[in-house]
């Protein structure tokens, strides 16, 4: 773990990025390193592996922490600043810890026309979280609003981790889905 994590330093003297949340994992596993290097070898330029590497790092670290970004830069031999720039550009790289089940509710137009705002309120009520960035006390839940998930034809919809629930999710459906998560019967994304 990086030395900057334990003692919060005043913001005026802290190095850039030290106020970002710290992950409990501090390095990539050898398998992950190999996976990243395999990706790098497939492209004419190893920089192209930045996005896949960040996906792998997110899986390993739980979210894209500063340590995760540094590890990616290190493995690929590319500037840390580049990795940070990329990680901050894309919304799927979580820069803060998320729950074991990260619920993404689409609130874009087709979903909104079919009650996405009410669905989002239900998600808040049932998980006990009031805003994005929070994780429930048991570590199970977090949520965010996302843009169109390309399930507009079965709106409203939501996605949990990598699993899309595009079945006109209503209150009953939501209960069923959350119960499945709680009881470990979460079907994962191997649909």
């Amino acid at each position: 773990m990086s030395s900057s994590s334990s003692s919060p330093v005043s913001s005026s003297t802290s190095a850039p990025g030290t106020r970002l949340p710290v992950s409990s994992v501090s390095s990539l596993s050898p398998e992950a390193v190999k996976e990243i290097l395999d990706f790098a070898g497939k492209f004419p330029d190893r920089l192209a592996a930045t996005l896949p590497a960040l996906h792998i790092a997110q899986r390993e670290f739980g979210f894209v922490s500063l340590e995760a970004m540094k590890a990616v830069a290190n493995v690929l031999g590319i500037p840390e600043g580049h990795v940070y720039g990329v990680a901050s550009f894309y919304s799927m790289y979580q820069k803060h810890p998320v729950g074991a089940f990260h619920i993404q509710v689409c609130t874009n137009i087709s979903c909104a026309l079919n009650g996405a705002v009410a669905l989002l309120d239900l998600v808040k009520k049932k998980t006990g979280i009031s805003k994005r960035g929070e994780v429930s006390a048991d570590g199970l839940w977090s949520f965010e609003e996302v843009e169109c998930l390309a399930s507009c034809g079965s709106a409203p919809c939501l996605q949990i981790n990598h699993d899309i629930y595009d079945e006109f999710v209503n209150e009953k459906e939501l209960d069923r889905i959350l119960d499945a998560c709680r009881s470990g019967q979460y079907r994962g994304w191997a649909k």
């Binding site: 592996a49 087709s110 009410a118 390309a150 034809g153």
Partner: protein, 454 residues
Amino acid sequence: MTNIRQKKDPQKYTYEGFGTPSLPNLMLRGAGNLDNWKLQVYQQEHEGYVGLKRALALQPSQVIDEMKASGIRGRGGAGFPAGLKWSFMPKDTADKKFTRYLVCNADEGEPGTFKDRAIMEYNPHQLIEGMIIAGFAMQCALGYIYVRGEYLWLIEKLEAAIEEARKANLLGKNILESGFDFDLMLYRGAGSYICGEETALLNSLEGRRGEPRIKPPFPASKGAFGQPTTINNVETLAAAAPILRMGGSEYAKIGTPKNTGTRIFCVSGHVKRPGLYELPLGFPLNKLVQDLAGGTPNGNKIKAIIPGGASSAIFTESDFDCPLDFDTVRDRGSMAGSGGIIVIDEDTCMVQVCLRLIRFYAHESCGQCTPCREGCNWMEMILTRIENGEGRLEDLEVLKSMTPRIAGKTLCALGDAACAPMDSILDKFRHEFIHHIEHKKCPKPACQLVTYSH
């Protein structure tokens, strides 16, 4: 509060052919059947890889001629003729050999659009076949499929299909003994609408921030990794398979003379049977919305229809009869775009619709150009104020004056994409904005389309 839609219709998607069994659809064959993605099903039931075999027996330039003869226009948004685009790729000369790339745009982020997903979910081999045909026609070394990051579950399926194709020597070295080498590689995005713009997509594919590039140079001369590249939408590439199977001139008989073939219309919003409808181009909008999609679920009157994805100008009743082809929709002041048709009923507040759409663009602007970055945020701010009953009448003039300063003055078309819905809603529903301002509140409190926690 807008009620959550209850599942009334048993069908999740409605897959409709444009004809009878003797004229089966071309793009959505077997959709809905979970086993349909398999090579065996594709070959036995859907004439799979027949088009590829015909293509490999031709010269590459003849394949491009078939595409030109088919008249097919790009299904990604702009409707640019695909055969012509393919012909822009530079050819090898005695002293210069190129490494050419093909890129499939599977970023599908346009709100209201969900067709590419269905092709990849149910007919991945048709996309693979189309890409091999395109790769052969342009003599590309490799094809990348840039898939939006959220489609992880789909990527698994695509990968399995690609592996099947490799095993059957449909990909790899010396494809079907033709001497042509070609392979496909998947690249996963990470959540960014702008990466659907072709040059932003190229930057993303190179592992950079998804910021659109200045054109020229166009991708055909300097694309992925600095090499000549052609970028096409999933539906465009997948259509190459039936086109080569039927022959370009046969395909051109479907639709209208300048808008040939079928396309997959995605119908969502306030309709009884939302879903995917494959129809010939030129099919009338109201027939699709009323007859096929069943009109609104509760019989409400339809107030507005977005005809071509969130980036297109909104239609009101006088345009509901519009034939859905690129030219007529454009002549009526909108855009056929991505084929995403969003139906809005009379109980909906149009100020909220407008705000919801603009917020999307404000959120997704890459931030490179000031008019788009600042303009979209300003528009969002002003619209929020109006919706909350704190607007002023001058706001409408300010909004009106903003769009000509954004549209056409930005690096990519996202600026224009934000202005089209803004302008059209403001023009056609001005009275709703004025009502908000004069009564200092939204007249439809039951309609809730916008959250405040984004």
